[in-house]
Amino acid sequence: MPVENFQLTIIVFYWFYLVVLAIFFLFFLINIYHLLRFGFFSVINLAVILTSIMIAFLLISFSLLILQQIDWSQTLINPEILNGFINGLLGGLNLFKFKIN
C-alpha cells in the first residue's frame, strides 16, 4: 500500500468490535460447555442455556444491524498529519539528512 494514500478510518472501531465478538464467542462457548458437561438435565439448566443463547443472538444481530448503517469511511485522524508522521517514520532517512554548505 502506498504510504501517501494511507488513511486511518473509523473502520478500526469495527475491527475492534470483531475482536470483542471473537473473545465473547470463546468465553460464551466455555460457559455453555460447563453447563452441558457438568449441569443436571433439568428445566432450569436448559432454560438458562437457551435464554443466554437467545440473548446473545439478539444482541449480536441487533448490533450488526445498527453498525451496518454507519459510514465507516470517515477518517479518524487528519490524513495530512498522519501521512507526514508515517513518511517521517518510514522514510526516516530524510530526517537525518545533513546540509553540506
Binding site: 473509523i10 472501531f13 469495527y14 475492534f16 468490535y17 470483542v20 465478538l21 465473547f24 468465553f27 460464551f28 466455555i30 460457559n31 455453555i32 460447563h34 453447563l35 452441558l36 458437561r37 457438568f38 449441569g39 443436571f40 438435565f41 433439568s42 432450569i44 439448566n45 438458562v48 443466554s52 440473548i55 446473545a56 444482541l59 449480536i60 448490533s63 445498527i66 453498525l67 454507519i70 459510514d71 465507516w72 470517515q74 479518524l76
Partner: protein, 171 residues
C-alpha cells in the same frame, strides 16, 4: 448433561437421598447486582441524550459509543453466565452412605470431595444474619471422627431439616 439420579463413583447398594444447591436468594443477590450493571449504560445514554445530544450525531464518537455499548453488554452477559456457572455447578449429594461435594472454582477447575456418613460425629447449623434467618438458609458443618477438619456446605436451604436428615442417616 448429568441425570438427576447421578451419584459420582456409585457404590453397590448406594441410594441417592437428595441433591442440594445453594438457596435461590444467593442468585437473587447477584441478580440485583446485574440490574445495576445493566442499567449503567442506559443511564449514560440518558445523560448524553439530554445534556450533550450532539455527540450522538458525531461522525466518529457515535460509532465509538455504539461499539462500546454493545461490547459492554456482551461482557456483562459473559460475566452473568460465569456467576451462574460458578454457583449452579456447586452441588452437594447426600446418599445413604456418603455426602459428596462438587464445587466449581472457575473454568476447568472442579473439586470433588466426599465424606463417609459412618465417620460423622456431629452436624451443626449456622444461620447468621437477617437474610439467612428470614429466608431459612445457612451453613452446615459436618464434623468427622479423628480429624479436626469440618465439611462445610454453604447457603443450604432448610439447614436444620438437612442436619436432621444427615443425623438420621448416620445413626
Amino acid at each position: 448433561m448429568i441425570s438427576k439420579s447421578f451419584i459420582p463413583s456409585k457404590r453397590p447398594g448406594e441410594i441417592l437421598v437428595k441433591h442440594f444447591w445453594r438457596h435461590p436468594i444467593v442468585f437473587i443477590k447477584s441478580f440485583l447486582m446485574f440490574v445495576i450493571i445493566f442499567s449503567l449504560p442506559l443511564f449514560v445514554y440518558w445523560l448524553i441524550s439530554n445534556f450533550s445530544s450532539s455527540l450522538l450525531e458525531h461522525a466518529i464518537i457515535y460509532p465509538l459509543l455504539v461499539i462500546l455499548f454493545f461490547s459492554y453488554y456482551l461482557f456483562v452477559l459473559i460475566f452473568a453466565l460465569n456467576v451462574w456457572v460458578d454457583n449452579y455447578l456447586d452441588v452437594w449429594t447426600l446418599t445413604n452412605m456418603r455426602i459428596i461435594s462438587r464445587t466449581q472454582l472457575g473454568w476447568f477447575n472442579r473439586v470433588n470431595s466426599e465424606l463417609e456418613l459412618s465417620k460423622v460425629q456431629d452436624v451443626s447449623v449456622e444461620q447468621k444474619g437477617i437474610f439467612p434467618t428470614i429466608f431459612n438458609y445457612g451453613n452446615l458443618h459436618v464434623q468427622t471422627a479423628g480429624t479436626t477438619e469440618r465439611f462445610l456446605l454453604r447457603d443450604v436451604p432448610n439447614p436444620i431439616k438437612v442436619a436432621r436428615l444427615i443425623n438420621r442417616l448416620y445413626e
